[in-house]
Amino acid sequence: MKAVHGLSKRNKSPLRIIAIFLAVIILLLISMFLSISIGSIHISFGTIKQAILNFDGSKEQSIIQSVRLPRLLVTTFVGANLAVAGALMQALTRNPLASPGIFGINAGASAAMVFLTVLVPSVSMIGGVFGAFLGGAFAAVIVYVMSSLIKGGDSDVKLALTGVAIQGMLMSLTQTLLIFNESKTEGVMFWLTGSVIGRDWGHVHVLVPFSIAGLLIAFGLGRASSLLSLGDDVARGLGQRVFAIRAFTAVVVIVLAGVSVAIAGPIGFVGLVVPHMVRYLIGVDYRVVLPMSALLGASLLLLADVLSRFITYPYETPVGAVTALLGTPYFIYLARRKKTERKA
């Protein structure tokens, strides 16, 4: 009961939570607007309003409809997915350093993508996305299974160690393919940094259903995650079927992160930093942490994407580089602030 008491003690007041939610929602809307209006051709608010109310096929509206809108949707959902996946990972492993990458999802998707690019150059977009997703999922499953096969010892350490080993192997494979196929890999290099450039409605149609399903299920896991984050014993003591929940959570993480990486390439830091920010703002009740992570993750990735259009104007920078640029200083700040005893 002390644990539950501790849980509620760390929560901030409901009023504050609602206020923060509103603030983040406003942030999200602003980011969305910026994402649509800014680019090599600036589009004013008036034109956007027109496009929604009275679509007339003009060049600018065409740009909105076929380029900016899908890019907006992809960025929004990828940001939300990664942030939620990261939060779930951190609850699952009780490790503040955890992010979907640890499972090897990024490395698996990258390896699959490069593999396809080299062996099947004419692979379709959908084919590439599915290939990357399968690669990421496959890697994650291998990591999970192998770490369970190793008996004894700290399960977090085993998972991380296995993850690092598998990631290393996949990255080496990827690099081997890249090095020995110089002439074929021009297209994939940008993808490997994590980028939402050129994402169109086809991508959206794949991303959105999986994202919505995954996110809703994740939100449903809110209470269970809070308890898991306190420790397996505590959770068990409070009646949770620990093994089932852990496995289920892992599946949700793989789906959310996997589909995001498959579409946008490996974007880092969102899954790592956003949950920290959210927990700092509203405490450790995952019933609110998860939805808030989705909103904040989406906003931040949108803003990063807008920034990425300016850094080397008129050419674009991969958004993964921008998230790293912004995420690192903040993460370092977090690491210095925290007291070492604090658990996720």
């Binding site: 090599s40 297209g187 050129g198």
Partner: protein, 314 residues
């Protein structure tokens, strides 16, 4: 503990002995290398090298050098071909140089293989092989020329240098002069106001546009086609979004591909906003001919194709 210390000592001793042997043998090697033949000094990207008057056994470490060497009338005895000769070397050229030995990848050619071929001359790429210039020079006189990141002017210079190095300066100068004349003739035949051109590599639906630093755009500029990409940059290729392509709106669009079928870019809704699409001025070409064959012969090939595709009056 004693045994361990002895082990460690033995280990270090072995290292030391190895080094001593190494140093002494290297010295012996150098002193035995005095050649009594006539030599010529050739200036190249990394300095000057004394090259034999008439080298017969030449090893080339980048593909563009093959064409230049053949223009000088010499066949290479060794080529760094990534073990992918069929994919990377033109069919006819491959027939001509048959019988050469592969020395490995262009990125990491095998120094041993090169040495075993007992070459008179090594032609290396000044970008890829600058770090092993010293080691290559120990094997044979080495010149380092621009090929990997060569623009149009570099290409011509490289060709001339190769000719100079193998003692066939006049022969190669003739090839270059013929090329320049060809370009002049073609420019005269070209439409007067051809507008601007954008050359893009379409990889998996990504748009990688070539800047003026790239040798293909250099060739086209010689023919009077300006590059639609005017933003200054030091790079040879930049990634573009569909939006930016629409903004650049070139008169003619050249899409380099190495896959069969039509470019997936055509399926994008904004594609039809392009001037070039509306006027039927989009040309899909083979990326090997237009991007990977960096030599005067390659430039000739590009010019020929450009004549076929781009010179028709509107």
């Amino acid at each position: 503990m004693n045994k361990k210390k002895i082990g460690l000592l033995a280990f270090i001793t072995m290292l030391a002995i190895g080094m001593l042997i190494g140093c002494s043998s290297t010295n012996k090697e150098n002193s035995a290398d005095e050649k009594s033949e006539k030599t010529r000094v050739v200036k190249h990207e990394l300095g000057e090298t004394k090259v034999k008057e008439n080298p017969k056994r030449v090893v080339v470490l980048e593909l563009g050098f093959i064409d230049a060497l053949l223009d000088a009338g010499i066949k290479p005895v060794g080529v760094a071909d990534d073990d992918k000769a069929e994919q990377l070397i033109d069919k006819d050229v491959l027939k001509e140089i048959k019988g050469y030995k592969s020395v490995g990848t262009r990125a990491q050619p095998s120094l041993e293989s090169i040495k075993l071929l007992k070459p008179d001359l090594i032609i290396a790429d000044s970008e890829r092989h600058k770090n092993v210039y010293k080691e290559l020079s120990k094997i044979a006189p080495t010149i380092e020329l621009k090929n990997l990141n060569a623009n149009y002017d570099d290409l011509l210079n490289t060709e001339l240098k190769v000719g100079e190095a193998v003692g066939k300066k006049a022969k190669v100068e003739k090839v270059v002069e013929e090329h320049k004349q060809k370009m002049k003739d073609l420019k005269a035949k070209a439409p007067k106001n051809p507008g601007n051109v954008l050359v893009i590599a379409d990889a998996n639906g990504n748009i990688n546009a070539r800047t003026s630093n790239f040798f293909t755009t250099g060739v086209l500029e010689q023919l009077g086609f300006k590059n639609a990409l005017t933003d200054p940059t030091k790079e040879y290729s930049v990634k573009m979004t569909m939006e930016q392509l629409v903004k650049a709106d070139p008169d003619k669009l050249i899409v380099m591909r190495n896959e069969k079928g039509h470019t997936p870019l055509a399926k994008q809704p904004l594609w039809k906003e392009l001037k070039a699409v509306k006027n039927n001025q989009v040309y899909e070409v083979d990326v090997f001919k237009w991007s990977l064959r960096r030599s005067v012969q390659g430039a000739n090939g590009i010019a020929d194709e450009a004549e076929k595709l781009l010179f028709e009056g509107k």
